[in-house]
């Protein structure tokens, strides 16, 4: 075990995977000499050289398109997109190509690429350095979508992503890149996809949160606790594949559900969790399912603190759910 930040864990995961397998390489804007604008690739250029830590021209479609071609010939590329907000020039490559290669070729051309990208608000990044658009990717069969919330999960999930046979969108909560530190297992310690993490056990209400929203959600449970409300917190960790079993089991126990995410509410991933609960845990529900989310607006700059869910909003929703019955 070593204590480190989330971004260090990402870095450690890549470095170890690259040491173990010469087919693993990294490409993206400013990932080489500069070590990445968030320093996620710090030191990799020096250790692995320019042919495996590739500074690309400024084109996201080029980065993902090239990564796809590399993967088709057996390399294991990790493509860094500098911010999720800038992934859209590559959206076509991701949803039309990466997600569909295996299917459209009858399994002849599996295409395993990991796309790592910092996402989310809370860093005063305005409209174009803050968004959480995980739902776009979750809506595309063929992709896996992963969001770690702790350093240990960041490394463990990233190692699983690198060794997964399918394409993975790996969303890194940049707001907590350095804000959280934690013990991270040394060596090739992987966290399997499709297994939610029970962050905190409780009996009265289930709070579902991922990425940078896990922090404020846990904070909310502390004030709820003082009022005698024991909230459970579940972090799905991988949105695709989703651990429906854990989500349903929690609500069967608590009878109440609050889903938290930074993204806008309408069409957001929270709707999917709510739908799973409506389908599979309906008779256990004692209160309407609540969502605490960003507003249905573009991401604001000056008023970001109003836009983002926080412990208070989450606690209010949880309290209302408990009081409803």
């Amino acid at each position: 075990m070593t204590e480190m930040t989330l971004v260090q864990a990402v870095n450690r995961g890549m470095a170890e995977a690259m040491r173990a397998d010469p087919d693993v390489l990294v490409l993206g804007e400013d990932v080489g000499v500069n070590g990445g604008v968030f320093r996620a690739t710090e030191g990799l250029f020096k250790e692995f050289g320019e042919s495996r830590v590739i500074d690309t021209p400024l084109s996201e479609t080029g980065i993902v398109g090239a990564a796809i071609g590399m993967a088709l010939y057996g390399l294991k590329p990790i493509a860094e997109i500098q911010f999720l907000d800038f992934i859209y020039p590559a959206f076509d490559q991701i949803v039309s190509e990466l997600a569909k290669f295996r299917y459209r070729s009858g399994g002849q051309f599996p295409c395993h690429v990991v796309i790592r990208t910092p996402y989310g608000g809370g860093i005063k990044g305005g409209l174009y350095h803050s968004q959480s658009t995980e739902a776009y990717f979750c809506h595309t069969p063929g992709l896996k979508v992963v969001v770690p919330s702790t350093p240990a999960d960041a490394k463990g999930l990233l190692l699983s992503a690198i060794h997964d046979p399918d394409p993975v969108i790996f969303l890194e909560p940049k707001r907590i890149y350095r804000a959280v530190t934690g013990e991270v297992p040394d060596g090739d310690h992987r966290v399997e996809f499709g297994h939610a993490r029970l962050v905190r056990e409780g009996t009265d209400v289930s709070l579902f949160a991922y990425g940078a929203m896990v922090g404020p959600t846990v904070e909310a449970t502390e004030s709820l606790e003082k009022e005698g409300i024991r909230a459970e917190v579940i972090d799905p960790r991988t949105l695709v594949p989703l651990d429906e079993e854990a989500i349903v089991a929690s609500v069967e126990k608590t009878g109440r559900a609050v889903v938290v995410h930074e993204a806008p509410r309408f069409g957001g991933f929270g709707g999917e969790i709510a739908a799973v609960l409506a389908e599979k845990a309906f008779y256990s529900l004692k209160a309407p399912i609540a969502r605490v989310t960003g507003y249905d607006t573009p991401f604001p700059y000056a008023l970001e603190h109003l836009y983002l869910p926080n412990a208070e909003k989450i606690a209010t929703a949880a309290r209302a759910a408990v009081r409803a019955s």
Binding site: L25, S51, S59, S96, Q108, D166
Partner: protein, 351 residues
């Protein structure tokens, strides 16, 4: 009936043919002619079947056979093909069985891509013919990535990106050309300029003098080639492949051809093509040009031509018959291959 158009003969005397194609020039050109007739026969038959409602869709490559056959013959086993919309014949020449391709066209149970794509979108890994989507241009930057992998693994192959004239306006044309040049990769960019992108003629696609001219600003040598002249296409491709293979970086070739059919079975070109287009196109028919040249040089006679044509028709008929009699894919296949089977860790490898 309009009169047969005058065919522009290929301008090579025997010595020139030998100098360009090598001592085996007769065998190469004859083999090319056979393949071109297979392509032509397939296009004719499939378009007819489409009109009869027996196959869902078809996109012909009529008029572009010289490029496709030359690419099939000029490339090595180690090379990789990233097709545009009309390069299926490249796969066949490289060894993908016509019978298998027919199963794809009929989207049946024996289609290697399991009936998931529209016709004319085959995947043929065994001949390094990469799975294509319908999205114009995306394969171009992918071809560049594969070339990177070839170099990274010390493999001798070249990656060939095929695309139409319309695709030169796409994001991935720009990204792919730029990345390949910056990284000095073994890529041959092949622009199959059939002068139309559905209804858009070349002057609506670019204000550049030629598509090949775009290459130089990326730092890539670009040449415009008569794409209906098999000998010229073949030799230019060999040259470009040699440059790429020997570490001298990417090359772009623009093959000018004449689209001799509608864009696809869903298109009506009378709405936008000038009335004399078909006539002009026919005078540049690559099959007729090769045939008249080989006849003039005494390599082929009328009887051999007849035999080759009949063999091509028969091959196509047999393949189509078998495919048409095959069951559609099993319903369970609908949900397979979205993700790897649970627990599998396979890597596609390099083959």
């Amino acid at each position: 009936m309009s009169a047969a158009p005058p065919i522009e003969p290929l301008p090579y005397a025997e010595e020139q043919a030998e100098r360009i194609l090598g001592a085996e020039w007769r065998a190469i050109a004859t083999s090319a002619y056979r393949w071109m007739r297979v392509g032509r026969a397939l296009d004719g038959r499939m378009q007819a079947l489409q009109r009869q409602g027996r196959v869902g869709f078809y996109g012909a490559a009529t008029g572009q056979e010289a490029v496709n056959v030359a690419a099939g013959l000029a490339t090595d086993r180690d090379d990789w093909i990233f097709p545009g919309l009309r390069e299926q014949l490249v796969a066949l020449v490289r060894g993908h069985a016509l019978a298998t391709y027919a199963h794809h066209l009929f989207a049946d149970d024996r289609d290697p891509s399991r009936g998931r794509n529209m016709p004319c979108h085959p995947s043929a890994r065994e001949v390094h013919y990469v799975s294509m989507s319908s999205v114009i241009g995306t394969q171009i930057s992918q071809a560049v990535g594969l070339a990177y992998a070839l170099r990274q693994k010390g493999a001798p192959g070249v990656s060939l990106a095929f695309f139409g004239d319309g695709a030169t306006s796409s994001n991935d044309f720009h990204a792919g050309m730029n990345f390949a040049a910056v990284w000095n990769l073994p890529v041959v960019f092949c622009c199959a300029n059939n002068q139309w992108a559905i209804s858009a003629p070349t002057e609506r696609q670019t204000a550049a003098t030629t598509f090949a001219a775009k290459a130089s600003e990326y730092g890539i040598p670009g040449r415009k080639v008569d794409g209906t002249d098999f000998v010229r296409v073949y030799s230019m491709l060999r040259g470009a492949l040699d440059v790429a293979r020997t570490g001298r970086g990417p090359v772009m070739l623009e093959f000018e051809t004449y689209r001799m059919t509608p864009h696809s079975s869903s298109d009506d070109p009378t709405r936008y093509q000038p009335s004399d287009w078909a006539m002009r196109a026919a005078s540049h028919d690559p099959v007729a040009r090769l045939q008249s040249w080989l006849t003039a040089l005494g390599v082929l006679d009328a009887e051999t031509i007849e035999t080759i044509g009949r063999a091509a028709d028969q091959q196509v008929r047999a393949a189509v018959e078998e495919a048409e009699a095959t069951e559609p894919p099993a319903p369970a296949s609908l949900t397979e291959d979205v993700y790897a089977p649970l627990g599998s860790r396979e890597s596609p490898g390099t083959g």
